[in-house]
Protein backbone atom coordinates (compact mmCIF):
# COMPACT_ATOMS: atom_id res chain seq x y z
CA UNK A 1 0.00 0.00 0.00
CA UNK A 2 2.68 2.47 1.06
CA UNK A 3 4.73 1.55 -1.99
CA UNK A 4 1.88 2.32 -4.32
CA UNK A 5 1.29 5.68 -2.72
CA UNK A 6 4.98 6.58 -2.84
CA UNK A 7 4.97 5.59 -6.49
CA UNK A 8 2.08 8.00 -7.08
CA UNK A 9 3.65 10.94 -5.23
CA UNK A 10 5.18 12.70 -8.28
CA UNK A 11 1.80 12.48 -9.99
CA UNK A 12 0.06 13.92 -6.94
CA UNK A 13 2.68 16.67 -6.79
CA UNK A 14 1.84 17.64 -10.36
CA UNK A 15 -1.82 17.79 -9.43
CA UNK A 16 -0.96 19.88 -6.39
CA UNK A 17 0.93 22.30 -8.63
CA UNK A 18 -2.20 22.67 -10.77
CA UNK A 19 -4.27 23.31 -7.64
CA UNK A 20 -1.88 26.07 -6.58
CA UNK A 21 -1.78 27.54 -10.10
CA UNK A 22 -5.58 27.63 -10.37
CA UNK A 23 -5.87 29.15 -6.89
CA UNK A 24 -3.25 31.78 -7.66
CA UNK A 25 -4.91 32.76 -10.94
CA UNK A 26 -8.31 33.01 -9.29
CA UNK A 27 -6.99 35.03 -6.36
CA UNK A 28 -5.08 37.51 -8.51
CA UNK A 29 -7.70 37.95 -11.24
CA UNK A 30 -10.55 38.29 -8.76
CA UNK A 31 -8.57 40.82 -6.73
CA UNK A 32 -8.14 43.07 -9.75
CA UNK A 33 -11.70 42.67 -11.02
CA UNK A 34 -13.22 42.86 -7.54
CA UNK A 35 -11.41 46.03 -6.53
CA UNK A 36 -12.34 47.77 -9.80
CA UNK A 37 -15.99 46.72 -9.59
CA UNK A 38 -16.08 47.43 -5.86
CA UNK A 39 -14.92 50.99 -6.50
CA UNK A 40 -17.65 51.16 -9.14
CA UNK A 41 -20.18 49.96 -6.58
CA UNK A 42 -19.21 52.55 -4.00
CA UNK A 43 -18.41 55.58 -6.15
CA UNK A 44 -19.85 54.87 -9.59
CA UNK A 45 -22.90 56.41 -11.24
CA UNK A 46 -26.24 54.85 -10.38
CA UNK A 47 -26.55 52.48 -13.39
CA UNK A 48 -23.08 51.06 -12.73
CA UNK A 49 -23.89 50.62 -9.04
CA UNK A 50 -27.01 48.72 -9.92
CA UNK A 51 -25.19 46.55 -12.43
CA UNK A 52 -22.49 45.62 -9.93
CA UNK A 53 -25.04 45.01 -7.17
CA UNK A 54 -27.06 42.66 -9.39
CA UNK A 55 -23.91 40.90 -10.58
CA UNK A 56 -22.67 40.36 -7.04
CA UNK A 57 -25.99 39.24 -5.57
CA UNK A 58 -26.67 36.86 -8.44
CA UNK A 59 -23.24 35.26 -8.48
CA UNK A 60 -23.19 34.83 -4.72
CA UNK A 61 -26.66 33.34 -4.82
CA UNK A 62 -25.85 30.29 -6.93
CA UNK A 63 -23.60 27.31 -6.18
CA UNK A 64 -20.10 27.57 -7.67
CA UNK A 65 -20.63 24.18 -9.25
CA UNK A 66 -23.64 25.42 -11.23
CA UNK A 67 -21.72 28.53 -12.23
CA UNK A 68 -18.87 26.36 -13.47
CA UNK A 69 -21.14 24.10 -15.53
CA UNK A 70 -22.89 27.17 -16.91
CA UNK A 71 -19.62 28.69 -18.08
CA UNK A 72 -18.20 25.43 -19.42
CA UNK A 73 -21.24 23.93 -21.13
CA UNK A 74 -23.32 27.05 -21.68
CA UNK A 75 -20.92 29.58 -23.19
CA UNK A 76 -20.09 27.49 -26.31
CA UNK A 77 -23.79 27.63 -27.16
CA UNK A 78 -23.48 31.39 -27.58
CA UNK A 79 -20.27 31.03 -29.56
CA UNK A 80 -17.71 31.42 -26.78
CA UNK A 81 -15.46 28.35 -26.59
CA UNK A 82 -13.23 28.26 -23.54
CA UNK A 83 -10.89 25.34 -22.88
CA UNK A 84 -11.96 23.51 -19.72
CA UNK A 85 -9.08 24.97 -17.72
CA UNK A 86 -10.04 28.55 -18.49
CA UNK A 87 -13.74 27.86 -18.14
CA UNK A 88 -13.08 26.57 -14.62
CA UNK A 89 -10.78 29.46 -13.76
CA UNK A 90 -13.32 31.98 -15.13
CA UNK A 91 -16.17 30.53 -13.10
CA UNK A 92 -14.15 30.45 -9.88
CA UNK A 93 -12.91 33.97 -10.60
CA UNK A 94 -16.45 35.25 -11.15
CA UNK A 95 -17.48 33.84 -7.80
CA UNK A 96 -14.44 35.18 -5.97
CA UNK A 97 -14.82 38.58 -7.65
CA UNK A 98 -18.27 38.92 -6.13
CA UNK A 99 -16.76 38.23 -2.70
CA UNK A 100 -13.93 40.72 -3.21
CA UNK A 101 -16.52 43.35 -4.21
CA UNK A 102 -18.23 42.85 -0.86
CA UNK A 103 -14.99 42.96 1.13
CA UNK A 104 -14.05 46.18 -0.63
CA UNK A 105 -17.44 47.74 -0.10
CA UNK A 106 -17.27 46.84 3.59
CA UNK A 107 -13.74 48.17 3.99
CA UNK A 108 -14.29 51.42 2.10
CA UNK A 109 -17.72 51.89 3.63
CA UNK A 110 -16.20 51.80 7.11
CA UNK A 111 -14.21 54.96 6.43
CA UNK A 112 -16.00 58.12 7.59
CA UNK A 113 -17.25 60.49 4.91
CA UNK A 114 -15.17 63.26 6.47
CA UNK A 115 -12.02 61.59 5.19
CA UNK A 116 -13.07 62.00 1.57
CA UNK A 117 -14.19 65.55 2.25
CA UNK A 118 -10.93 66.51 3.93
CA UNK A 119 -9.07 65.02 0.97
CA UNK A 120 -11.27 66.95 -1.45
CA UNK A 121 -10.76 70.13 0.53
CA UNK A 122 -6.98 70.06 0.03
CA UNK A 123 -7.51 69.60 -3.70
CA UNK A 124 -6.83 65.90 -4.24
CA UNK A 125 -8.41 64.38 -7.35
CA UNK A 126 -10.59 61.26 -7.14
CA UNK A 127 -7.70 58.92 -7.91
CA UNK A 128 -5.41 60.66 -5.46
CA UNK A 129 -8.07 60.43 -2.77
CA UNK A 130 -8.37 56.71 -3.33
CA UNK A 131 -4.63 56.14 -3.50
CA UNK A 132 -3.46 58.26 -0.57
CA UNK A 133 -6.41 58.55 1.77
CA UNK A 134 -9.08 55.88 1.26
CA UNK A 135 -7.16 52.74 0.28
CA UNK A 136 -4.40 53.01 2.90
CA UNK A 137 -7.11 53.11 5.58
CA UNK A 138 -9.40 50.55 3.97
CA UNK A 139 -6.48 48.16 3.52
CA UNK A 140 -6.36 46.84 7.07
CA UNK A 141 -10.09 46.13 7.06
CA UNK A 142 -9.94 44.53 3.66
CA UNK A 143 -6.97 42.30 4.37
CA UNK A 144 -8.20 39.84 7.04
CA UNK A 145 -11.42 38.73 5.29
CA UNK A 146 -9.63 38.68 1.97
CA UNK A 147 -6.84 36.40 3.17
CA UNK A 148 -9.43 34.24 4.87
CA UNK A 149 -11.14 34.08 1.50
CA UNK A 150 -7.96 32.84 -0.14
CA UNK A 151 -8.54 29.51 1.62
CA UNK A 152 -11.97 29.46 -0.04
CA UNK A 153 -10.26 29.80 -3.40
CA UNK A 154 -7.97 26.87 -2.65
CA UNK A 155 -10.90 24.75 -1.50
CA UNK A 156 -13.05 25.87 -4.44
CA UNK A 157 -10.30 24.92 -6.86
CA UNK A 158 -11.03 21.25 -6.10
CA UNK A 159 -14.17 21.63 -8.20
CA UNK A 160 -12.12 22.02 -11.40
CA UNK A 161 -11.59 18.25 -11.19
CA UNK A 162 -15.18 17.91 -12.37
CA UNK A 163 -14.23 19.42 -15.73
CA UNK A 164 -11.50 16.81 -16.11
CA UNK A 165 -8.61 19.03 -15.06
CA UNK A 166 -5.94 17.08 -13.24
CA UNK A 167 -5.59 19.10 -10.08
CA UNK A 168 -4.82 17.54 -6.70
CA UNK A 169 -8.40 16.30 -6.28
CA UNK A 170 -8.49 14.70 -9.72
CA UNK A 171 -5.00 13.26 -9.30
CA UNK A 172 -6.12 11.59 -6.08
CA UNK A 173 -9.18 10.13 -7.79
CA UNK A 174 -7.05 8.83 -10.63
CA UNK A 175 -4.54 7.19 -8.32
CA UNK A 176 -7.43 5.60 -6.44
CA UNK A 177 -8.77 4.35 -9.77
CA UNK A 178 -5.50 2.46 -10.28
CA UNK A 179 -4.69 1.38 -6.73
CA UNK A 180 -8.09 1.06 -5.02
CA UNK A 181 -6.51 2.58 -1.91
CA UNK A 182 -9.33 5.06 -1.39
CA UNK A 183 -9.09 5.86 2.30
CA UNK A 184 -5.34 6.50 2.67
CA UNK A 185 -5.31 8.67 -0.44
CA UNK A 186 -8.32 10.76 0.54
CA UNK A 187 -6.79 11.29 3.96
CA UNK A 188 -3.48 12.24 2.40
CA UNK A 189 -5.32 14.69 0.13
CA UNK A 190 -7.24 16.15 3.04
CA UNK A 191 -4.01 16.66 4.96
CA UNK A 192 -2.39 18.47 2.04
CA UNK A 193 -5.36 20.82 1.62
CA UNK A 194 -5.45 21.31 5.36
CA UNK A 195 -1.76 22.15 5.55
CA UNK A 196 -2.00 24.83 2.86
CA UNK A 197 -5.19 26.42 4.15
CA UNK A 198 -4.27 26.27 7.80
CA UNK A 199 -0.99 28.01 7.04
CA UNK A 200 -2.93 30.68 5.15
CA UNK A 201 -5.39 31.23 7.97
CA UNK A 202 -2.58 31.48 10.51
CA UNK A 203 -0.95 34.09 8.30
CA UNK A 204 -4.19 36.04 8.13
CA UNK A 205 -4.53 36.06 11.90
CA UNK A 206 -0.99 37.35 12.26
CA UNK A 207 -1.55 40.10 9.72
CA UNK A 208 -4.76 41.06 11.43
CA UNK A 209 -2.89 41.55 14.67
CA UNK A 210 -0.12 43.42 12.94
CA UNK A 211 -2.44 46.00 11.44
CA UNK A 212 -4.62 46.43 14.48
CA UNK A 213 -2.20 48.93 16.02
CA UNK A 214 -3.45 51.70 13.77
CA UNK A 215 -6.25 53.19 15.76
CA UNK A 216 -9.08 55.32 14.45
Amino acid sequence: MLGQILYALPFLAQGFAVTLWVSLLVVVLSLIAGVLLGVGLVYGPLPLRWAVRIFSDTIRGIPILVLMFFVYYGLPAIGLHLPSFWAAVSALTLFKTAQVIEYLRGAVGSIPKGQSEAAMAIGLTFRQRLAYVIFPQAFRRFLPPWINGVTDAVKGSALVSLLGITDLMQAINQVIGRTYEAMPLYILGALIYFAVNYALSLASRRLERRFSFIRE
Partner: protein, 221 residues
Protein backbone atom coordinates in the same frame (compact mmCIF):
# COMPACT_ATOMS: atom_id res chain seq x y z
CA UNK B 1 -24.75 34.00 -31.96
CA UNK B 2 -27.86 32.72 -33.60
CA UNK B 3 -28.70 30.66 -30.55
CA UNK B 4 -32.46 30.76 -30.09
CA UNK B 5 -33.68 30.13 -26.59
CA UNK B 6 -36.18 27.30 -26.42
CA UNK B 7 -37.48 26.25 -23.05
CA UNK B 8 -39.93 23.56 -24.26
CA UNK B 9 -37.63 20.65 -23.51
CA UNK B 10 -36.86 22.09 -20.10
CA UNK B 11 -40.53 22.23 -19.16
CA UNK B 12 -41.00 18.67 -20.40
CA UNK B 13 -38.31 17.47 -17.97
CA UNK B 14 -39.08 20.02 -15.28
CA UNK B 15 -39.88 17.27 -12.77
CA UNK B 16 -36.13 16.49 -12.72
CA UNK B 17 -35.45 20.04 -11.57
CA UNK B 18 -38.42 20.38 -9.25
CA UNK B 19 -37.82 17.00 -7.64
CA UNK B 20 -34.15 17.91 -7.47
CA UNK B 21 -34.87 21.16 -5.69
CA UNK B 22 -37.06 19.38 -3.13
CA UNK B 23 -34.30 16.86 -2.50
CA UNK B 24 -31.73 19.70 -2.19
CA UNK B 25 -33.91 21.30 0.46
CA UNK B 26 -34.39 17.99 2.24
CA UNK B 27 -30.63 17.34 2.29
CA UNK B 28 -30.03 20.86 3.56
CA UNK B 29 -32.67 20.78 6.28
CA UNK B 30 -31.63 17.40 7.72
CA UNK B 31 -27.92 18.20 7.59
CA UNK B 32 -28.37 21.64 9.09
CA UNK B 33 -30.55 20.21 11.87
CA UNK B 34 -27.91 17.64 12.80
CA UNK B 35 -25.15 20.20 12.29
CA UNK B 36 -26.92 22.63 14.61
CA UNK B 37 -27.09 20.03 17.36
CA UNK B 38 -23.38 19.23 16.87
CA UNK B 39 -22.57 22.93 16.80
CA UNK B 40 -24.56 23.84 19.89
CA UNK B 41 -23.34 20.94 22.01
CA UNK B 42 -19.69 21.43 21.07
CA UNK B 43 -19.86 25.22 21.44
CA UNK B 44 -21.36 25.01 24.93
CA UNK B 45 -18.87 22.30 25.83
CA UNK B 46 -16.00 24.32 24.40
CA UNK B 47 -16.62 27.47 26.43
CA UNK B 48 -16.83 25.54 29.69
CA UNK B 49 -14.24 22.82 29.04
CA UNK B 50 -10.59 22.43 29.91
CA UNK B 51 -7.64 22.62 27.60
CA UNK B 52 -7.73 19.12 26.13
CA UNK B 53 -11.37 19.18 25.13
CA UNK B 54 -10.92 22.63 23.65
CA UNK B 55 -7.98 21.44 21.60
CA UNK B 56 -9.95 18.47 20.28
CA UNK B 57 -12.95 20.57 19.32
CA UNK B 58 -10.69 23.19 17.74
CA UNK B 59 -8.92 20.46 15.75
CA UNK B 60 -12.26 19.21 14.39
CA UNK B 61 -13.34 22.73 13.44
CA UNK B 62 -10.04 23.70 11.85
CA UNK B 63 -9.67 20.45 9.95
CA UNK B 64 -13.14 20.48 8.41
CA UNK B 65 -13.02 24.16 7.56
CA UNK B 66 -9.74 23.83 5.72
CA UNK B 67 -10.59 20.85 3.49
CA UNK B 68 -12.74 21.08 0.33
CA UNK B 69 -16.27 19.76 0.84
CA UNK B 70 -16.04 17.72 -2.36
CA UNK B 71 -13.10 15.78 -0.91
CA UNK B 72 -14.99 15.07 2.30
CA UNK B 73 -17.95 13.88 0.24
CA UNK B 74 -15.73 11.44 -1.69
CA UNK B 75 -14.00 10.37 1.49
CA UNK B 76 -17.21 9.46 3.27
CA UNK B 77 -18.90 7.85 0.25
CA UNK B 78 -16.00 6.00 -1.38
CA UNK B 79 -13.38 5.91 1.35
CA UNK B 80 -15.07 5.07 4.64
CA UNK B 81 -16.90 1.91 3.43
CA UNK B 82 -13.54 0.42 2.40
CA UNK B 83 -12.30 0.39 5.99
CA UNK B 84 -15.52 0.12 8.00
CA UNK B 85 -18.18 -2.47 7.40
CA UNK B 86 -20.93 0.00 6.66
CA UNK B 87 -23.32 0.33 3.77
CA UNK B 88 -25.19 3.53 3.12
CA UNK B 89 -26.89 5.14 0.16
CA UNK B 90 -25.45 8.17 -1.57
CA UNK B 91 -28.01 10.59 -0.03
CA UNK B 92 -27.37 9.21 3.47
CA UNK B 93 -23.65 9.48 2.89
CA UNK B 94 -24.02 13.08 1.77
CA UNK B 95 -26.23 14.02 4.73
CA UNK B 96 -23.63 12.50 7.03
CA UNK B 97 -20.88 14.53 5.39
CA UNK B 98 -22.76 17.81 5.28
CA UNK B 99 -23.82 17.36 8.93
CA UNK B 100 -20.25 17.00 10.10
CA UNK B 101 -19.21 19.81 7.76
CA UNK B 102 -21.94 22.22 8.87
CA UNK B 103 -21.30 21.25 12.50
CA UNK B 104 -17.77 22.62 12.22
CA UNK B 105 -18.98 25.94 10.82
CA UNK B 106 -21.78 26.20 13.35
CA UNK B 107 -19.51 25.53 16.34
CA UNK B 108 -17.62 28.65 15.31
CA UNK B 109 -20.80 30.70 14.95
CA UNK B 110 -22.21 29.60 18.29
CA UNK B 111 -18.92 29.82 20.13
CA UNK B 112 -18.30 33.42 19.11
CA UNK B 113 -21.91 34.16 20.02
CA UNK B 114 -21.53 32.64 23.47
CA UNK B 115 -18.35 34.58 24.08
CA UNK B 116 -20.11 37.78 23.07
CA UNK B 117 -22.75 37.45 25.80
CA UNK B 118 -22.04 40.33 28.20
CA UNK B 119 -20.68 39.33 31.60
CA UNK B 120 -23.22 41.51 33.35
CA UNK B 121 -26.05 39.28 32.15
CA UNK B 122 -24.43 36.19 33.63
CA UNK B 123 -23.76 37.99 36.89
CA UNK B 124 -27.37 39.10 36.97
CA UNK B 125 -28.37 35.46 36.46
CA UNK B 126 -26.18 34.45 39.37
CA UNK B 127 -27.51 37.26 41.52
CA UNK B 128 -31.09 36.04 41.22
CA UNK B 129 -29.94 32.56 42.21
CA UNK B 130 -30.11 30.62 38.95
CA UNK B 131 -28.18 27.35 38.78
CA UNK B 132 -25.51 27.03 36.06
CA UNK B 133 -27.94 25.03 33.89
CA UNK B 134 -30.67 27.58 34.33
CA UNK B 135 -28.24 30.37 33.49
CA UNK B 136 -27.27 28.56 30.31
CA UNK B 137 -30.84 27.81 29.28
CA UNK B 138 -32.52 31.07 30.22
CA UNK B 139 -29.75 33.64 29.94
CA UNK B 140 -26.83 32.54 27.85
CA UNK B 141 -28.42 30.60 25.00
CA UNK B 142 -31.25 33.06 24.24
CA UNK B 143 -28.85 36.01 24.22
CA UNK B 144 -26.35 34.08 22.11
CA UNK B 145 -29.07 33.16 19.60
CA UNK B 146 -30.09 36.77 19.20
CA UNK B 147 -26.48 37.81 18.62
CA UNK B 148 -25.77 35.05 16.12
CA UNK B 149 -28.97 35.00 14.08
CA UNK B 150 -27.67 37.10 11.16
CA UNK B 151 -24.49 35.03 10.86
CA UNK B 152 -26.57 31.89 11.30
CA UNK B 153 -28.86 32.83 8.40
CA UNK B 154 -25.88 33.37 6.11
CA UNK B 155 -24.37 30.03 7.11
CA UNK B 156 -27.67 28.24 6.45
CA UNK B 157 -28.01 29.75 2.96
CA UNK B 158 -24.44 28.89 2.17
CA UNK B 159 -25.01 25.28 3.32
CA UNK B 160 -28.09 25.07 1.12
CA UNK B 161 -25.93 26.03 -1.87
CA UNK B 162 -23.38 23.40 -0.83
CA UNK B 163 -25.94 20.65 -1.42
CA UNK B 164 -25.10 21.01 -5.14
CA UNK B 165 -21.91 19.04 -4.37
CA UNK B 166 -24.10 15.98 -3.75
CA UNK B 167 -24.39 15.70 -7.55
CA UNK B 168 -20.82 14.35 -7.69
CA UNK B 169 -21.95 11.13 -6.03
CA UNK B 170 -25.08 11.02 -8.23
CA UNK B 171 -27.58 12.19 -5.62
CA UNK B 172 -30.44 13.39 -7.85
CA UNK B 173 -30.73 16.88 -6.37
CA UNK B 174 -31.12 20.10 -8.37
CA UNK B 175 -27.63 20.34 -9.88
CA UNK B 176 -27.75 16.67 -10.84
CA UNK B 177 -31.13 17.23 -12.49
CA UNK B 178 -29.66 20.16 -14.43
CA UNK B 179 -26.78 18.02 -15.67
CA UNK B 180 -29.16 15.24 -16.68
CA UNK B 181 -31.18 17.64 -18.82
CA UNK B 182 -27.97 19.22 -20.11
CA UNK B 183 -26.66 15.88 -21.39
CA UNK B 184 -30.01 14.53 -22.62
CA UNK B 185 -31.52 17.56 -24.35
CA UNK B 186 -28.55 19.84 -25.04
CA UNK B 187 -30.72 22.85 -24.19
CA UNK B 188 -27.72 23.88 -22.14
CA UNK B 189 -28.18 27.62 -21.72
CA UNK B 190 -31.86 27.20 -20.92
CA UNK B 191 -31.38 24.52 -18.30
CA UNK B 192 -28.72 26.47 -16.45
CA UNK B 193 -30.75 29.66 -16.65
CA UNK B 194 -33.71 27.89 -15.08
CA UNK B 195 -31.50 26.13 -12.50
CA UNK B 196 -29.77 29.38 -11.58
CA UNK B 197 -33.13 31.06 -11.16
CA UNK B 198 -34.33 28.20 -8.95
CA UNK B 199 -31.29 28.42 -6.68
CA UNK B 200 -31.55 32.22 -6.52
CA UNK B 201 -35.26 32.30 -5.77
CA UNK B 202 -35.01 29.54 -3.17
CA UNK B 203 -31.99 31.20 -1.57
CA UNK B 204 -33.70 34.57 -1.35
CA UNK B 205 -36.95 33.09 -0.09
CA UNK B 206 -34.97 31.31 2.63
CA UNK B 207 -33.10 34.50 3.45
CA UNK B 208 -36.34 36.46 3.61
CA UNK B 209 -37.88 33.86 5.91
CA UNK B 210 -34.84 33.84 8.18
CA UNK B 211 -34.84 37.65 8.36
CA UNK B 212 -38.49 37.48 9.46
CA UNK B 213 -37.53 35.04 12.20
CA UNK B 214 -34.71 37.37 13.23
CA UNK B 215 -37.09 40.30 13.45
CA UNK B 216 -39.65 38.39 15.45
CA UNK B 217 -36.93 37.15 17.76
CA UNK B 218 -35.68 40.67 18.32
CA UNK B 219 -39.19 42.02 18.84
CA UNK B 220 -39.95 39.30 21.38
CA UNK B 221 -37.10 40.38 23.61
Amino acid sequence: MGYALNFNLIWRHFDKLWGGLLLSLELAVISIAIGTVIGLVLAVWYVSAGRTVRAIIAAYVEFIRNVPLILLVYLVFYGVPTVVDLAYSAPTSFVLTLSVYSGAYLVEVFRSGLEAVPRGQLDAGKAIGLTPWQRLLHVRLPTMLRITLPALSNTFISLFKDTSIASVISVPELTFGAQWINFNTFRIVEVYLVTTAMYLVTGYVLLFGLRLVERRFRAAR
